[in-house]
Each structure stands twice: as structure tokens, then as C-alpha cells.
Symmetry: C2
Subunit: 581 residues, 2 copies
């Protein structure tokens, strides 16, 4: 049984499900359902799919996640960045609006779900950590810019395309003569209205005496109001006759049973994008889930999350959807509305299923410009250039990673951008550890403490050099250490002993071991003793296994002070150095 | 002046050059010249080039290295592994024996030299460190196997080809019917003779009263004796009439002035192999140079070495050669023969130039089987499978890297093999640091020391959890820490304070900072205090800049003991845990 329960968290929270939880979950579900209808339609538009795909992608996935997922507040469905990635991936192999395009979306969801479940079963969730916060922040910001730009064509009522910022801008400029004034008016007014809802409505409602919770939910209902308002306007004034593009007929149906195509050609073309979508979706989802779980002192299991999200995507593939993940805005709405268990997600799915059957005729006159406007306003909150300032002030390597990710994503598209970001951040990390901080230390007079001779007034002994190495030793910095010691020993003809202080060395890999052996050999040739001090238990165990400890021409001291006492000359001179950086 | 001197080490040792150094260098040069003649011919054969290319590649490069290099004993010229890489790179774009093949070798040398000089000027020598000792060891062993196998065809007198082990074996088996018995006899006898020289001659000479130095040099002259013996045999018995392939006409000439072709197509095809050859050649050369320099308490400058080797390769490109590097065997001969300065290299170059003009007719009857036999015996010393046992015992990650490099090099060729080795070792390193060792610590009774509760009998306090993190915190392990703390805090309802002991944390990157902020936020939501202790100076400076220290819901303690005193309950209970691994 424990095994089954591990893979089916529903068995755990289901046991204690009671009436209070039920009523809280139901209320949350109603609120979330209303929010999700325009959002689902809009993200389907962003992904280049028919509007119903967005609704379908919100039904089965949310139920499957409720069964397999570990977060109690996460709402799974279409999200902005994954929709953009979907459009970018499928756009390379099929034309938008064709049957092949929608079919490819199913395959993409299936591959993505399969990959997530595979990672989950193999417990390889840690692989997502290769996306550093800097790369994610840069990528999300660049995606926000790309998404907002991609929606401009709908707001202007022109036909344009492209998957990179330069392509999009050139394409929009080339089509500027086609601008539809009425469409543009609808789009601009909706954007303005949604901004006002964000910034002006909440304070207004509070002044009018509304409770913070009501004010909050009313604010989030802005897109619903915009959808209703502009749909009524188009219907009442017959604006579609003047060239305003509308959503049109959406089939009144429960999610259909679909079978993702798995031809070799299709799989080959979509495998890499599917992996990318999985990883990015997983990272987004886990951060949201973790943040919400912490608020209630719950925890999520990242490897089980992989299974939950994988099942959700496979579900999307078989029910006419496209790749999904746990979204930030929908999850926060769910949480704020008081959802207590994943059952709230299941009720939301039922709500959306009812909407799919009964309400789709109501969006016939909904202008695409309205949906585009809701996307633009939603993603502008993703664009956060303050990350540039923050990383610049904190660590140059992170700043470079952010800038590289943003520029490459904008210039070359989402896939190249995020992949380059990962490579750049790994290389920068390796570069950083390739030149570890090494302090030459001396004794603080009258104590057993040893500190950096460049920062403190300490006693030194010209025959004894002690180097404290502030990094694990491994292949990337092994040769650095060889060079450093060779240079330092070549400088001082009086040097009789070298002590390497290992207090901050957490690992010594085989390359570093060979370097230590080479250093030992070279120092032996020079008649200089090599000693170690303050070696940690696990590192010592390993070094013993390799016989370095036996071969060492010197000794291993438990503490640096022991080394100083054993190796120092009796006539130690006090040597003062100015404090320096 | 200091700048010029940095780039021209010759100006430094040239000033103190005296008669003793001159005579020592001259003696070394004569010995090395004699050794180098057969070796140069053999490596040219391995690279698929005409024999004179090996001689030419030993003349200008050795002189240019003498001017720009920093090692006093390194001998630069064709080496086995680089010759194999050359054959593999050019074999993909031209047929052996054609003019295009030799021309491509010049381009390869030029690109390789240019890349080395570029790295040197940009001081990027550390990039070579990405090749871990494990990958290099695996690669050298696999190359040894490939080289020996590739020479079997010459020993058997058959025509065969292929760049991977399976290809070579299949090709040799397919041509077995063409075996030339006389060629095979010459090859087998030479191999046997050279083995006897290695194992049996030295003890024999010593028993006969020869000095160790003479015995050593005589042993190394084995290939020269084999060349002379088999050449005389072929000439005297007219064996070439029976199908024994001979070296034939070698032009009597100084190195010609050649201009490497730089057409876009050629550069595109050879750029990646050139980079690979540069890096591998550099790594081989620097290890040899460092080992020899240490014996005389000299040092080499890796970035200047890049310039020296780069100049040598560019020189090879303009004088009919092919890619070169500092070779192990020739350098050791040079060192053992008493070379004192790089001038010895220049004299060797003069000796080889004389040989190129005057002695080439003498090798007309030299059988190719002899050269192949000298290569086989020379590279068998490269094959060192003990690395498998050593890494298995020391560190599993290194073992995997060695095995992956060996198998991929043998199965897919040298380029894929070494590139995969680098990727595998980087991934394994990142994986290792992705789950850092974290010890929950308690106080050793009666002291101010804090040790792992799983290894020692220590005092703990149920309201206070102290975690000592034995790794720098960066993006790959940032989320691991979040999960770990969330799990630990979810376990114990009594927990009021968490202390992270940072004594072994050498860096906190931006991702880890964000994780710490998230942890701080989550613990605040849970009403649990977050504190740090024993944070190193550089890490503290950085954290202060980021305001984490201000935002922390708890405090930063100088020592773990301060934290214990400030946060612990007065009624601390002694809690015993069994000692465990």
C-alpha cells in the first residue's frame, strides 16, 4: 500500500475530506471557473489553436492533477509562456488553422506529458534545477515581451507573423496599411480598461466600503467584464460587418476523445520542444506550488509533481487540448478564493465542462482584439527588468546570464534563448569555481585562529606557507591549484613547508587527487614538505582510499594550529601588512 | 619593455646563455635529432601524410617554440594523438595521398595555431581545464587502441581504413586475403625487437657495465636501429619487389614555404577539429612542461604556452607541416640528454634541416611496416586500463566519465568521444553538487563544538534545528535546499528556529539568494525563525549588498555557539543517538 499511496496523493487528503472543505472548495471552484473562461480562450489564441482547445485543455488536466498532484492549491491548465512555446514549436511544422496544427498540439502535449512522467518515475526532478533563477527570470521577461508583441496584430486587426522580436516587428510594420480602426479602438479601450481595473478599481471599491476579499475578486474579474462588454458591443452594433475579427462558432461539446499522432517524423520534430516545454512548465508550476504550500505549512513532492503534471499533459493530449502546466495567476485566484483541497480543481473542471456544452454560443461575437488585450495586460506583469539591476548589484555572473537569456530569446526565439541561458549559466558557474578564492593565512597573535594575511595583522613564518582553499577541488580548478602552488613556492626560496588548509574543501575529485599527487611529487623534488590540515571526514575517507595520505611527503594535521606548532620555527617574527581588499 | 619580455621569454634566458649551457644543449640536440628522424616519419604516416611532412613539422615549430615558449625542456613536433586527430579530421574531407589532403593539413595547423594564440592573448588557458584527468586518461587510452589498430594494416601489408574501432576491425578482416607475408614478418620482427629493447636491453647493458645514462639512451635508440636494420634488409634482398611497401622518394629539401588555404568551406569543415586538436595538444603539452619544470624548480606560464604552441602550429602551416604539440617522449629524451634551454630545440631543428636535405635518400627502402611497428610499440604505453580500477575505487563519477570516454571514442571516433567525455564529466559534477552533504548538528557536551548528530553523541534542542551545508549554494542546488528545509520543518511541530551554518559555503549565487529569500518568507509564514551562522567574509559582503541580511526574520551569528546560546532553550536535554554512517 505505501507505494500506491506515494503515487496517488488523493488517497491521503481524500480520507479526511469533510463538509467545510467541500463548501470552501465549491465556492473557490465557481470563482475560478468564471475567471478561466476568457483566460482559456485567450491562451488558445496565443497558441494559435481554436478557442475551444483552451477550454478542453483546462478540464481533463485539472482532474488528473487533482488525483496525482501533491499541491492542494495549484490550478493546472493553459498558461501564457507554455502557449507561446507551443505556438513556436508547432509553427515550424504546420500552418496555423490547419488540422495538422491542432494534431501536432496533441502530440506535443503527449510527448511533454510522457517526458514529465518518465522524469518523475526515475526521480530526476532535480534536472529542472539547471534552469537558474536568473535564466528563468530573463526568459519569462523576454517571453512577456514576445507574447505582448505577438498580440499586437490582433489588437491592430492585421495579419502578421514571426517567432522572434525582429521578425514580429518587421511583419507588423509591413502590414500597417491593413489596420482596422474599429478593431484597434476595441483593443485599445480594453487595454485601458484592464489597466484601470488593476490600478484604479481596487482603491475605489475599498473607498466604497467593499471588503478586501471582494475588492480583490472584483479586480480579477476585469477580463470577464471586458469580454461581456465588447461582445455585447460587437453584437449590438454589428461591428463584425466592419472587419472586426470575432471568435465565431465554438462547438458545443464536452472535450472530444482525441488520439495524438506518433509518426516518427512528428515525434522527431517535436521531441526537443516537448522536453523544453516540460522543463519550463515544471519549473513554473513547482515554484507556484511551493510558494502556496508554504503558506499552510504543507509540502509538495517535486518528483510526484512530475507525475501529476505528466498525467495532466497526457490527459490534454487525449481530450483535444495542448500542453498545460500549473499557472501562477489561476493558482493564486484558486488559493485566494479559499480552495482547500485538489477537489476544488475537479469542481472547476465540472464548471468548465458545463461552460463548454452550454455557454460557447455566447462567445460567438467576442472580438479577438479583446482576448489579445487581456493577454497583453496579463503578460506585462511578467516583464520585470528590475532583475537586471538586482543581479548587477549582486553577482556579475548572474547579470550576464540574465542579459544573454533576454537578448537571445528576443533575437533568436524561445527555444534557442532558454537553451543558451542554461549553457551560459553552467559555463559561468564553472568559470567561477575555476579560480577559487585562496587565502594565505597567518596566526592571529595570541590565539589559535588563522586568518588571511591580506586582511588581518597576523604572524607569519617565511619557511611555512599556509593556503586556505575556499572551494571544492575538481577538474576545472585542479590545474589552477597546481599553478598557484608552483608560483608561490618559486617566489620564496626560504620555503620549507606548504600546508593546505582544507576546512572549506567539500570534495576532491579524481582530477584534483591527481593534481595533489603531482603537487606532492613536485614539492618532494624541490625538498619542500606538503601537509594538509582540517580535512573533513568524508574527504579524508576518500583520500585515505587513494593512498594520497600515505604518499604525502608531509603530514595531515587535525587543526591548523597543530600544523603551526609542529612546522613553525621557534623564532616566529611578527610581520605586519596593511589591510587590503 | 616588460610587455615585450612577457611575450618573448627568449629575451630572459638568452641574456645568461653561456658556454656550459651551449655545450649541454648541443649534445642534447644531437641525441634528440637522431631519435626524431624515425619518429617524425612514423607520425606523418599515422596522419596519412607523406613522410617529409613529419620532418618539416619538426623544424620551424621547434624554433618558434624556442622563442615564444616558457618551458626549457619541452620538445615540440608531431605526436601520436594529434596525428591521429589530424587523420580523423582531414579524412572526412579529402582522400589520403591527394594534394587536397596535404593542403587541408596546413589549414588545420593554421586554424589550430590561430586558436591557441587567440586563447593565449585573451588569457583563456583555463578553458583547457574542462578536460578532466579522467576524460584525458580515457581518451588517451582509447586513442592508443585506435592508433595501434590503425597501424595493423601497414604491418599486415593490406589496404584498410576507418576511423572507429568497429570500422577498422571490419575493414581489416575484409582485406585479410591481401596479407603480404614478408611485410608481416618485417612488422612482427620489428615489434618483437622493439619490445625486447624496452624490456631486455637495458638490464643487459647494465650487466655489461654501461652507465645508466648510456643504457637509457641506447634503449631509446631502438627505433633507429630497427629503421637501419630493416632498410638494409629490404635494400639488400630487394624485398620491395615482393610487395613490401617502402617509403620511397622523399624530396631532398629544406621545409618549403607553403600557404594554408582559407576558403570558407575548408575553414567551416576544419574549425571544430582544429579547436579540439588545440585543446588536447595544449593539455598534453602543459602537463609535460609542468612536470619537467618542477624538477628544476622552474615554472611555466600556461597562457604564454598557448602563444608558444600557437606560433609553432602557425609555423607548421607555412612550412609544409601539420598540427604539432609538445610531446611527452621527445621532451623526456631532450631533458634526459641534458638540454638546459630552448636553444637545444633550435639546434635540433638545425639537425633535422640537415637531415631533410642530406639524409632523405637513405630512407628510400625503409619499409612502412617498420614505421607502423615503432608506432604500435610507442602507443602501447599510452594504453593504461589501470585508470578504470583507480577511479572505481576512488570516485564513481570519475569512473563513469572514464568508461564513457573510452567507449564513445572507440565506437564513434575521437571527436565525438572527447566531446562527450567533457559533457559527461560536467554533468556528473553538477549532479554531485546538486545534492550537497547537509549535516544536522548538535553540541558536543561541554564544548563549543557542533557536530553531525548522526555521527556523534551530541546535545540537541527540539525547538532548534541547525543544518551545516557542506557546499557552495548555486542554482543547481538552490531548490534542493528549499525542499530540504521545508521537509525538515514540516516534520517537527516544535521547531521554532532554524540555523543554517555556512562555514563551508564558499559562494551564494543569485538563484541561491532567491531561494534563501523564499525560505525566509516561508519560515516567516510558519512562524519559524531563520538564522545564519559562521558566514565567511566574502559571502557576507555579498549577502549584505542584497539586503537578505536586513530582511532575515532572524539574526546572523558570528559562531554557531553564539546561536546556540541565544536561541536554545535553557532546559536542553541530552539526546543520544546511535553512531551511524
Amino acid at each position: 500500500m505505501p507505494d500506491i499511496r506515494r503515487y496517488l496523493p488523493v488517497l491521503e487528503w481524500g480520507r479526511t475530506y469533510d463538509r467545510t472543505a467541500l463548501s470552501n472548495d465549491l465556492i473557490a471552484a465557481v470563482i475560478v471557473t468564471i475567471m478561466l473562461i476568457p483566460q482559456s480562450l485567450a491562451y488558445a489564441l496565443l497558441a494559435g489553436l481554436p478557442p475551444e482547445a483552451g477550454i478542453y485543455a483546462s478540464i481533463a488536466p485539472i482532474m488528473l492533477y487533482a488525483i496525482f498532484g501533491t499541491s492542494r492549491a495549484l490550478a493546472v491548465g493553459p498558461v501564457a509562456v507554455v502557449s507561446l512555446l507551443t505556438a513556436s514549436a508547432i509553427g515550424q511544422i504546420a500552418e496555423q488553422g490547419t488540422a495538422g496544427y491542432a494534431a501536432a498540439a496533441l502530440t506535443l502535449a503527449f510527448l511533454s506529458g510522457g517526458f514529465l512522467m518518465l522524469l518523475g518515475v526515475l526521480r530526476l526532478g532535480f534536472l529542472a534545477n539547471f534552469l537558474s533563477h536568473s535564466v528563468i527570470a530573463g526568459f519569462i521577461t523576454a517571453s512577456g515581451i514576445l507574447i505582448a508583441t505577438s498580440q499586437l496584430k490582433h489588437v491592430l486587426g492585421v495579419g502578421a507573423d514571426g517567432h522572434t522580436l525582429p521578425e514580429m516587428i518587421v511583419s507588423i510594420l509591413a502590414h500597417l496599411d491593413e489596420v482596422n480602426i474599429i478593431t484597434m479602438a476595441i483593443g485599445a479601450l480594453t487595454v485601458a480598461f484592464l489597466f484601470w481595473v488593476r490600478k484604479g478599481l481596487k482603491p475605489l471599491l475599498k473607498r466604497l466600503g467593499a471588503s478586501p476579499k471582494v475588492a480583490d475578486i472584483a479586480t480579477k474579474a476585469g477580463p470577464v467584464a471586458a469580454v461581456v462588454g465588447t461582445t455585447l458591443a460587437v453584437w449590438g452594433l454589428g461591428l463584425n460587418a466592419f472587419g472586426v475579427k470575432i471568435v465565431g462558432t465554438v462547438p458545443q461539446s464536452l472535450p472530444p476523445l482525441t488520439v495524438p499522432g506518433l509518426s516518427g517524423e512528428l515525434v522527431q520534430a517535436l521531441l526537443v520542444p516537448a522536453i523544453l516545454i516540460s522543463v519550463i512548465g515544471f519549473v513554473e508550476s513547482v515554484s507556484v506550488a511551493q510558494t502556496l504550500a508554504a503558506k499552510k505549512r504543507q509540502r509538495i513532492d517535486p518528483n510526484q509533481e512530475l507525475i501529476g503534471l505528466g498525467a495532466a499533459n497526457v490527459g490534454a493530449a487525449f481530450t483535444g487540448g495542448y500542453p498545460v502546466t500549473g499557472g501562477f495567476s489561476r493558482s493564486v485566484v484558486n488559493y485566494d478564493a479559499g480552495a482547500e483541497t485538489p477537489a476544488a480543481g475537479a469542481y472547476t473542471a465540472v464548471g468548465l465542462a458545463i461552460a463548454a456544452v452550454a455557454l460557447t454560443p455566447l462567445v460567438f461575437y467576442l472580438p479577438k482584439a479583446t482576448l489579445a488585450a487581456t493577454i497583453i495586460v496579463a503578460v506585462l506583469s511578467l516583464i520585470d527588468l528590475s532583475i537586471l539591476k538586482k543581479t548587477w548589484g549582486y553577482a556579475r555572473a548572474d547579470f550576464i546570464a540574465v542579459v544573454a537569456t533576454i537578448l537571445l530569446t528576443l533575437a533568436l526565439g524561445v527555444e534557442v534563448g532558454v537553451a543558451s541561458g542554461v549553457v551560459v549559466s553552467v559555463l559561468l558557474h564553472l568559470h567561477k569555481t575555476s579560480r577559487p578564492h585562496v587565502a594565505e593565512v597567518g596566526r592571529v597573535p595570541g590565539t589559535e585562529h588563522f586568518r588571511n594575511i591580506r586582511r588581518h595583522e597576523v604572524e607569519t613564518d617565511p619557511s611555512l606557507v599556509t593556503l586556505r582553499i575556499d572551494e571544492s577541488l575538481y577538474f576545472v580548478n585542479a590545474r589552477f591549484l597546481e599553478d598557484l602552488i608552483q608560483r608561490r613556492v618559486a617566489e620564496g626560496r626560504d620555503i620549507r613547508n606548504v600546508v593546505l588548509m582544507f576546512s572549506a574543501v567539500n570534495d576532491v575529485d579524481f582530477s584534483a587527487l591527481e593534481s595533489l599527487e603531482a603537487i606532492n611529487q613536485r614539492l618532494t623534488d624541490m625538498g619542500v614538505g606538503l601537509h594538509l590540515s582540517e580535512v573533513k571526514g568524508p574527504v579524508m575517507d576518500r583520500l585515505k582510499r587513494a593512498h594520497l595520505v600515505n604518499d604525502l611527503n608531509g603530514k595531515v594535521f587535525l587543526s591548523q594550529h597543530d600544523a603551526w606548532v609542529a612546522l613553525g620555527r621557534l623564532d616566529t617574527k611578527k610581520q605586519r601588512k596593511p589591510a587590503a581588499v
